[in-house]
Symmetry: C2
Subunit: 213 residues, 2 copies
């Protein structure tokens, strides 16, 4: 599937293309040119064409891009055409928020297990998903062919849990803990560091006030 190395910048933009194409599809738009899409997304048409051509020629000269086709192709590239079994480690508010978010399911991310250390939570159910104790972690991953784990627990035990996940064969970690996890080659970590995001917002608000941005 992969020809050359795709740059990180392109990968970051890809889901946003997917979102806009989904919206166009809902609006009933059948075809779109890079120029028109560029106006909507506020990026250059050049960038859109360059980005898409990393993966192949999806368009047609004189016509543009077929929305449905391009949407499906990008979906395939992102892997949302497949099913991914997913677990959530940490059943606090954030874990609940993710478990409840129905759109993930639509994209093929099936949460089939939640875990916690709190005995009061173990045995409870969220959206039909049972909360389990940590001792079941490895067996559950193996038996349910789990690919992705979201870590939504405090940072203290996150590295240790990450090690267990890796050893149990997880392929991707969606890390919400405020710490950088060390994983071996072949395992992917995607960080969501909310406090860093909030500080960036704060920086920009403040620099707006003093100098102007």
């Amino acid at each position: 599937m992969e020809r050359k190395e795709i740059s990180q910048a392109v990968i970051v933009r890809l889901p946003r293309y997917y979102r806009y194409l989904g919206e166009l599809l809902e609006e009933g738009v059948e075809r779109i040119s890079s120029g028109e899409l560029s106006r909507r997304m506020k990026v250059t048409a050049s960038q859109i064409r360059q980005d898409l051509n990393n993966f192949g020629g999806f368009g047609q000269q004189g016509y543009g891009y077929n929305v449905q086709y391009l949407y499906e192709e990008i979906g395939r590239i992102l892997g949302v055409d497949r099913k991914h079994n997913m677990i959530i480690i940490g059943s606090g508010n954030l874990g609940h928020a993710i478990a409840n978010y129905a759109n993930f399911k639509r994209r093929g991310f099936i949460v089939n297990g939640m875990f916690d250390i709190d005995p009061d939570l173990i045995g409870e159910s969220v959206q039909g998903i049972r909360i389990r104790g940590m001792e079941e972690l490895e067996s559950f991953i193996r038996e349910n062919d789990v690919q992705i784990a979201a870590i939504t627990m405090p940072k203290t035990h996150a590295p240790e849990v990450a090690d267990r996940l890796v050893r149990a064969g997880i392929r991707g970690i969606w890390n919400f803990a405020h710490i950088d996890l060390a994983v071996p080659e072949g395992v992917v970590v995607e960080n969501v560091h909310l406090s860093e995001s909030l500080m960036r917002l704060s920086y920009r608000v403040c620099s707006m006030e003093d100098g102007q941005e």
Copy 2:
């Protein structure tokens, strides 16, 4: 405070420096060289020195950087030395997760109001924060000098709410809704698009399997 334009890439990295310096401080480390920090953070020493010099000469030749001093300076740059009043629009799990996260408070982000449209939630309290109806939004922002609003509600009404926030004088929007908000100059939007983050993870997991990354 601002000399020249600071690049987006630098701003993204800044909170991570802050986090590592905070950890060093807790470890009792008094001084650190760009070389040693580069080993810890797995970035080049050159990049660290370049990044910091955007804001001034915090180091000393032959010595390195004083951890405490650098930590405080970066905190000042990020604006975490000040108080920011903050509200949360949307009191679902995600709103609760943010309200409950005590570390934000430590960094000066004070959540003093939560809002929702659900009559069952209005009047309830989370962490001592009362959940209010949307009709109180504008008056609350003005009376409590609120600078930052987190939008943790479904995307449908997010643009409309964003408009109200802007008109009421909010300076920064922390947007968790899966939509791009249009705001005038002088107002800052920081997006946290979880579904896009998850798709990036999915992409990288899949491309690991087919070709190798």
